[in-house]
């Protein structure tokens, strides 16, 4: 083999390899390719993954992503319809649905991102600005559960019923954007409100409101405590009275019963001989009424002393001193 033929062979080999590498191209699972010939798009986009062939040198493979792609919005400062300044952050996921159109209109992803910024941010502002804040915060009209220790003192405004709610608001944004983006070969798969926050100056006011709200709740707890304890004390007072008066009633009743029974017993017994009873009772009275300070003025005509006069004096008992009924 001569040296020249070796060189020619090598040149052919290099040429062949270059042609082969230009003719073959691989498409991954995540890619789709638009073939252009001198800049002019040729045929349908290649979406099937694997090894593919094109005309070498003349045709160019333009690779686009086939997956869902990111779009993360910036924090938009928007006034809501009820004049609340909030920051809204949205995110969206989109894909290149028509790579040819996408290629023609936007060239590449960077172009797409800036276009999506315009469209999605704009629509988000529009939708948020034409609704009250509560519509973007709440999803349903469910009633709040009341805490076991307090039913909350709600701002009238926050208890308002919503018409749309967060879900429908995001659907609305999605719908509106979805009308526009097919022109760019883009399909918008989802838009979500990622964050809503008050802007700083509003937040300070909200905090003030929260503080005063909590203060009201705290005050109510305190007065409730005072009220409840007064209630318990009142109950106590009442029960004390009930107990005491009932005890009084019962004791009087019982003592009365005892007295009555005793009286009837006495009456029954003494009725058998009233004269004797009177006599005995009188005698008993002497025992209890006469003491060392008593003066007794007795006549000798008294039964007890009549014998002082004469041993057989007539017995007429002087009852002058003895008080008798």
């Amino acid at each position: 083999m001569s040296g020249r033929s070796t060189i020619i062979l090598a040149a052919f080999a290099v040429l062949g390899l270059a042609t082969l590498s230009s003719a073959l191209y691989s498409v991954s699972e995540t890619e789709q390719v638009v073939i252009t010939q001198f800049g002019e798009p040729m045929g349908l986009p290649v979406t099937q993954a694997g090894l593919h062939v094109k005309v070498p040198f003349a045709q160019e493979a333009n690779v686009f992503d086939k997956r869902w792609l990111e779009w993360n919005g910036n924090a938009n400062q928007v006034p809501t319809r009820d004049k609340k300044y909030i920051g809204v952050e949205t995110y969206a996921r989109w894909r290149i649905a028509n790579p040819l159109l996408f290629f023609q209109r936007l060239r590449d992803e960077r172009g797409a991102q800036s276009r999506l910024d315009d469209i999605i941010d704009g629509e988000t502002r529009n939708v948020i600005a034409s609704h009250d804040l509560i519509e973007a915060v709440r999803t349903t009209n469910r009633a709040f559960e009341k805490g076991e220790e307090a039913e909350d003192i709600m701002e009238a405004e926050s208890m308002r019923q919503i018409e749309l709610g967060r879900d429908k608001i995001t659907r609305l944004i999605l719908e509106r954007v979805s009308h526009v983006v097919p022109d760019y070969g883009i399909e918008l798969v989802d838009v979500q409100i990622q964050r809503i926050n008050y802007i700083e100056s509003v937040q300070a006011k909200v905090f003030d409101r929260m503080i005063s709200e909590r203060k009201r709740i705290a005050d109510r707890h305190r007065s409730e405590g005072q009220g409840k304890s007064a209630e318990v004390r009142g109950k106590k007072e009442r029960e004390l009275k009930v107990i005491e008066s009932e005890a009084y009633r019962k004791t009087q009743e019982i003592m009365g019963r005892g007295d009555a029974e005793a009286t009837s017993i006495y009456a029954e017994a003494y009725n058998r001989n009233r004269e004797l009873y009177r006599f005995l009772k009188t005698m008993e009275t002497y025992h209890s009424t006469i003491d060392k300070d008593s003066w007794l003025v007795l006549s000798t005509s008294t039964d007890a002393f009549r014998y002082l006069q004469s041993q057989n004096a007539a017995g007429n008992a002087g009852k002058t001193v003895i008080p008798s009924r």
């Binding site: 498409v27 699972e29 090894l51 909200v206 019962k250």
Partner: protein
């Protein structure tokens, strides 16, 4: 002319290598031989790969997905014709919101900054503000979808989770969020996120969503604490009142019972005495009836005998002794009764 899915067979490969060696043995060029051996070694090296126990390997040939491999050693077509991507399908993955674990240990250390704070601050349904920290645990349930459907799955999953959590918190009051609603909020957010994963078809299955610290914002925290304090005060006031009640009422009941018992005693006393007196009287009367005159006199005299000595002054005069002025020594009386 895309090469279609013919599985790569390592035995076939080594057979070819053997044949190549046999053919080369006759060659007179040792340099070529060495070069070929080097190429062979490189091929061997780039065709071997290993899948760890918690992973699966997804093999693509010229970018096209051809097969999934389970854990263990495997071979593929070398020189970048087949490529493998490993996905940890068995691993429990975790994302944190509102904080980051710096070092997980017995005593884990956490990190918070402006970025994590922005994640945690959110509006509640009563238009208040709260900070919520939470974690979500998930697994890759479909490695194909996980790899090929979405460009930045993990970051997208973060955003999805934030959106879901805010949606759910936005439908609860701040009180619910801080007290009774914690569990149901976590459950609802998890459900919402699972549904969203299905919608996005991202190959992720949500395992757990757990709320960590849920607090009112720093600036209003003292007033929330004041509410708790007020609740404590309320409870204390009520408890004190009940304590008084419990101290006094049983005592009053006892006292009442005492009075009743005493009354009862009084009644019994009265009755018994009456009975005794009556019986005594009856007995006496029975005897009296037998000799009334004598008994009467006896009792009368006995009484006088008992009573008269106790009297301080006694004056016995005769009605018939007229004209005589009885003398009363009044002095001692004045002494006794001043």
């Amino acid at each position: 002319m895309a090469t279609q899915g013919v599985g790569f067979d390592p035995e076939e490969f080594s057979r070819l290598a053997r044949e190549a060696r046999v053919r080369l043995r006759g060659s007179r060029r040792p340099l070529t031989f060495i070069a070929l051996i080097l190429v062979g070694l490189l091929a061997l090296y780039s065709s071997y790969y290993q899948v760890e126990p918690d992973e699966v390997g997804l093999v693509t040939r010229f970018g096209r997905f051809v097969r999934t491999c389970n854990p263990g050693p495997h071979a593929k077509v070398p020189f970048g014709i087949e490529r493998v991507q490993k996905v940890p399908v068995q691993r429990q993955l975790k994302q944190e919101f509102g904080f980051r674990t710096l070092r997980a240990d017995i005593q884990s250390s956490y990190h918070k900054d402006e970025k994590t704070e922005a994640e945690s601050v959110m509006l509640t349904g009563d238009l208040n503000v709260a900070t919520v920290e939470w974690i979500v645990q998930y697994k890759i349930s479909d490695p194909y979808k996980y790899l090929f459907r979405m460009r930045d799955v993990e970051e997208t999953f973060r955003l999805m989770t934030e959106a879901c959590m805010r949606t759910v918190v936005g439908d609860h009051s701040v009180t619910e969020l801080l007290t009774v609603g914690r569990e149901s909020i976590a459950a609802k957010a998890k459900e919402l996120l699972s549904n969203m994963c299905k919608l996005y078809d991202n190959g992720i299955s949500v395992q757990q969503l757990i709320l960590q610290n849920v607090d009112p914002p720093e600036a209003v925290r003292p007033s929330f604490n004041a509410v708790n304090q007020a609740i404590q005060e309320r409870e204390r006031a009520i408890n004190e009142a009940w304590a008084e009640y419990n101290q006094e009422i049983p005592r009053a009941r006892g006292l009442a019972e005492q009075k009743i018992q005493a009354a009862e005693g009084y009644a019994i006393d009265r009755v018994n005495r009456a009975k005794g007196d009556a019986q005594r009287f009856n007995a006496l009367e029975e005897e009296y009836r037998k000799a009334p005159e004598v008994t009467r006199t006896r009792i009368y005299l006995e009484t006088l005998a008992a009573v008269l000595p106790t009297a301080g002054k006694k004056l016995i005069f005769d009605e018939k002794a007229k004209g005589i002025l009885p003398m009363f020594p009044l002095g001692p009386v004045q002494e006794v009764k001043p």
